[in-house]
């Protein structure tokens, strides 16, 4: 840090609102892309596992290994194939969501009481109707819990993709802040990134509560 440089230069923030806003929307975009694609893959994988139980260990093992790879190493592996690109960043981000999402979708579906499935089948639900109208709605709180963890994790990880030229708010932290010896940018990037994670978490919780009014209706007689 150059001597005499203050932690925060409010003037810089005011002058660079457009840049900050651009990085913020980029961050949101990268997070959303990763979580949406990750969820789609996880959903398909979970349904596949339900059909073929033997796949459970393979899929969870594989995604577990992905989850364990340090993010920096994963980028390094990917660069020879997909270069320093948005694609490399997203492949890594998506990879990290899979374990949590698949596990929670499976746990959610397993949380459906067997007698509910039996009653539904006995009343003439088709397997598809059973899944969409009974099992998934009941599994929703646990699935959303998984989405919240995956989203918060991804918001944090997006900053690391600044190392391969992406990064959203991470660009402010790594490139402008650390490499440019400019603490204001580090502060702005970090605070906004945290705020974004908290906001996403609370928003998802709100959506879940709104979608599952029954999960709060407990107890007058129970």
């Amino acid at each position: 840090m150059p001597p005499g440089e203050p932690f925060i230069r409010p003037a810089w923030i005011v002058d660079n609102l457009d840049v900050i806003w651009q990085r913020l929307t980029e961050h949101v975009g990268m997070t959303l892309t990763a979580v949406v694609i990750g969820f789609a893959i996880s959903f398909a994988a979970a349904l596949l596992i339900r059909r073929r139980r033997t796949l459970t260990a393979v899929v969870l093992g594989f995604t577990g290994i992905l989850y364990a790879i340090p993010s920096l190493a994963l980028f390094a592996f990917l660069i020879p194939f997909t270069g320093i690109s948005f694609l490399s960043a997203e492949i890594a981000l998506v990879s990290y969501t899979l374990l949590i999402l698949i596990r929670n979708i499976l746990l959610g579906l397993e949380s459906v009481p067997p007698e509910v499935v039996e009653a539904a089948t006995g009343m003439g639900y088709t397997p598809r109707q059973l899944l969409w109208r009974v099992e998934l709605p009941i599994a929703l709180p646990i699935i959303v819990a998984g989405l919240r963890i995956a989203t918060v994790t991804t918001v944090g990880l997006v900053t690391v993709t600044a190392l391969i030229g992406q990064g959203g708010l991470g660009y402010l932290i790594v490139v402008t802040g650390v490499r440019g010896f400019f603490p204001t940018a580090i502060w702005v990037g970090a605070v906004l990134s945290i705020a974004l994670a908290v906001l996403a978490d609370v928003a998802l919780l709100g959506v879940q509560r709104w979608l599952t009014p029954w999960s709060r209706a407990r107890g007058s007689a129970a």
Binding site: P113, E115, V116, V117, E118, A119, A120, T121, G122, M123, G124, Y125, T126, Q129, V134, P137, I138, L140, T212, P213, W214, S215, A217, R218, G219, S220, A221, A222
Partner: protein, 383 residues
């Protein structure tokens, strides 16, 4: 049963066998044939592992038979798509299996919605159903299952099963998870409901007393899904077809049988009725020719007051109320023979005075008559 016409269908099992393993392994159900007449309750009962639930589930194809056929009104169920078949059969299970994410009203509306009834009609039907099972639609429609008691959940389960007015209902230990007092109430309510809707019901239980109470016909199954006996509760209690059935229904089967019969099923004995102030001569002559040794003293409204021993009438003169043994056992035509016997055995004169709703004497029954009933297999006329 009342004269309500049945909306039920005939359910028939023809030589149905179910084996979960390969050929040669033990059977869950073995060469089972039985016909449930339309509008009757058939109770499948037996010890665990007797295949009663498997048998029931072959009717709505939750289980497919290894061989044999199941028909509903003559139609082979294996030719119907399972989903379509199940929407025409009500299904109630012990744990109820209400959908926790749907309100009571939505739960009851499940099958009509699967059948794509118009929304207005569904709403009307839900109101009707909740009324039918004794839940106030205004108070219950929008509650969630987690807000209900066990008994209330079971009622919603029954309403849900009846929603599309299916001709056949399958009930797997429907009252098994409720405490005995509430179970008794739910059973009575259900019998009243059945008197109105007259569905064909296949009911599974492991409880003999529940079977006797609920059934028009009982199918007793033994291990391996072998049908030990299929008959009315009375015949099963009077003439158990095998030692297995005899042991299964219990040593008190005579008393159980008496609880199936009512006083109105017996031919009443004409009483010798006397009133205060009447002369004893005529009464004495009447008692001499009567099968009963007592004259019944009644008041001005024909209500029994007490018994007068035939021997006490010998002296001549007027009837003396102080000579009467007070407190005749009053029975109603609806009293079960089990209760009648118990009342008569408790009083010093072992006769029962059968009275109408204003307590006017209709006739007498004796302990001997009841013990005679126990000797015979057939039910007295009237049931």
């Amino acid at each position: 049963m009342t004269g309500t016409p049945t909306t039920g269908a005939v359910v028939a099992l023809e030589h149905v066998t179910k084996r979960y393993g390969p050929p040669g392994t033990p059977t869950a159900v073995s060469d089972l044939s039985l016909t449930v007449p339309a509008g009757e309750i058939c109770v499948l009962v037996g010890p665990s592992g007797c295949g009663k639930t498997t048998t029931m589930k072959m009717i709505n194809r939750l289980v497919e038979p290894t061989s044999g056929a199941v028909t509903i009104d003559g139609e082979d169920v294996s030719r119907l798509p399972p989903v379509e078949l199940r929407r025409r059969i009500g299904y109630v299970i012990q744990q109820v299996g209400l959908f926790p994410h749907m309100t009571v009203g939505e739960n009851a509306a499940v099958v009509p919605r699967l059948l794509r009834w118009p929304a207005g009609q569904v709403r009307e039907r839900v109101t009707e159903l909740l009324d039918l099972v004794g839940l106030d639609p205004a108070a219950y429609r929008d509650r969630y299952p987690s807000e209900l008691s066990g008994g209330e959940r079971q009622r919603v389960g029954v309403a849900r099963a009846l929603a599309a007015d299916p001709p056949v209902m399958l009930m797997d230990e429907p009252f098994g998870a409720v405490d005995p007092i509430r179970r008794d109430r739910l059973q009575n309510e259900f019998l009243r409901l059945q008197a109105r809707v007259r569905k064909t019901i296949v009911f599974v239980t492991h409880d003999v007393d529940e079977a006797i109470k609920m059934a028009d016909r009982i199918a007793i199954l033994q291990r391996g899904g072998i049908l030990a006996q299929y008959d009315t509760p009375n015949t099963i209690l009077a003439e158990p077809g095998s030692e297995f059935v005899e042991r299964f229904v219990g040593a008190d089967r005579g008393l159980k049988r008496l609880s199936l019969m009512r006083v109105r099923d017996l031919p009443l004995i004409e009483p010798v009725v006397v009133r205060v102030g009447e002369r004893t001569h005529e009464a004495q002559r009447a008692v001499d020719t009567s099968p009963v040794d007592y004259a019944l003293l009644v008041d001005a409204q024909e209500r029994p007051i007490g018994w007068i021993d035939g021997a006490d009438l010998a002296g001549g003169g007027a009837i003396d109320p102080s000579a009467a043994t007070p407190g005749a056992s009053l029975l109603e035509p609806e009293t079960t023979l089990r209760d009648a016997l118990s009342a008569m055995l408790a009083s010093s004169v072992q006769l029962g005075a059968v009275v109408d709703e204003r307590e006017r004497i209709l006739g007498l029954v004796s302990v001997d008559q009841i013990s005679a009933v126990l000797q015979t297999a057939a039910l007295p006329a009237g049931r």
